[in-house]
Amino acid sequence: MMWWIALLTAALFSFVIKFAGHLIPEKWLAHPAVKRTADLLTVCLLAALVAKQTLTSGATVAFDARVPAVAVAAVLLWRKAPFIVVVAVAASVAAGLRALGWG
């Protein structure tokens, strides 16, 4: 029972945090400097997500089958391959390397 209360409380907090960002007043966001910073934050956020998803495992930096998979993805993106192809090939490269016993 204790854990159900904890679970529902944590879920409520999670929702309130997500909702809070959506309630920030329009006029705070309309300022040109805010917009410019938001664009830069987009780049930084995406880059941080790439680094986290490619090179970390829990609380450690890890080098495994994801790295060659993402390198192949980068080549495909440079060659202007469709998004879904890039994602599928990256999964196959990592799955293939792991099937061979690496990473």
């Binding site: 209360i5 944590a10 879920a11 907090f13 960002g21 959506h22 934050l41 995406l46 998979a69």
Partner: protein, 249 residues
């Protein structure tokens, strides 16, 4: 294709209803929307399938199937869910589980603020649905798109598909428990990484953007061993923005 058809659009040029006026622009708009939807669905599949590992891990750690399913449906944010189930599994206190999962979710405040100009105006109920669907993936897909319409399409397609699949696969994982193998054997983690790279790609046109992105990525790796999961992302992004703004002058 995702990158190619964006080339001719400046991020602001096609914003707003004016862009849908001419027939040619309308065609380009629907093309941009379908690119966004395809990206959203790809990410939905790659991330949603990951729910299987959460479901299995939570049940093996001792949570009931109902508690596991409730976490995915109600909390719906991967890092916080894994932390909550992990603290339960090692016999931690309920208070520690609530505190940790809440701290990990703090980055979502900035996501809501970034998405607000795109998604507004929304009636109150829709705003609540959008808030629940505000996660790393839906925010990333939305912000990577060049126009307001395609951003909306990206947000909703990624948000809804991740929600549906994440919950469905959580149930599968919870029922199968420890009999499930490792989803990484299928390369799902690499698929998600490639998807984020694909979203980042079209934003790297200027040297300043490339340099700032490199700073953000490097900081994330440097902070990963130092901060609890979920926070390195936010701190690194914020610091890189500060460095980027400073170096622009």
């Amino acid at each position: 294709m995702a990158g190619a058809c964006r080339v001719s659009f400046h991020p602001d040029a096609a914003d707003g209803p004016a862009a849908t006026g001419a027939a040619g622009a309308a065609g380009a708009d629907s093309e941009l929307r379908s690119v966004a939807v395809r990206q959203g669905l790809s990410i939905g599949l790659a991330t949603g399938a990951y729910g299987i590992s959460f479901g299995a891990l939570a049940v093996v750690g001792g949570l009931s199937v109902w508690q596991t399913v409730a976490l995915s449906a109600l909390m719906f944010t991967g890092a916080s869910q894994f932390a909550f189930a992990g603290i339960f599994a090692v016999g931690g206190s309920p208070l520690a589980a609530v505190t940790t999962s809440t701290l990990l979710g703090l980055r979502h405040v900035s996501y809501g603020a970034l998405l607000a100009p795109t998604l507004r105006p929304m009636p109150p109920f829709k705003k609540m649905v959008a808030a629940q669907l505000t996660i790393d993936e839906s925010t990333a897909v939305a912000l990577a798109q060049p126009t307001r319409d395609s951003r909306r399409a990206g947000f909703w397609s990624a948000g809804v598909s991740v929600y549906v699949l994440w919950n469905a696969f959580t149930l599968v994982g919870a029922l199968a428990g420890s009999r499930i193998g490792d989803p990484n054997a299928w390369g799902l983690d690499a698929a998600a990484a490639a998807a984020f790279l694909g979203l980042l790609w079209s934003h790297l046109k200027t040297p300043h953007a490339r340099w700032t992105a490199l700073v953000a990525g490097t900081l994330t790796l440097a902070l990963t061993p130092l901060l609890p999961a979920g926070l390195p992302l936010l701190v690194a992004a914020a610091a890189a923005v500060a460095i980027g703004e400073w170096s622009r002058k």
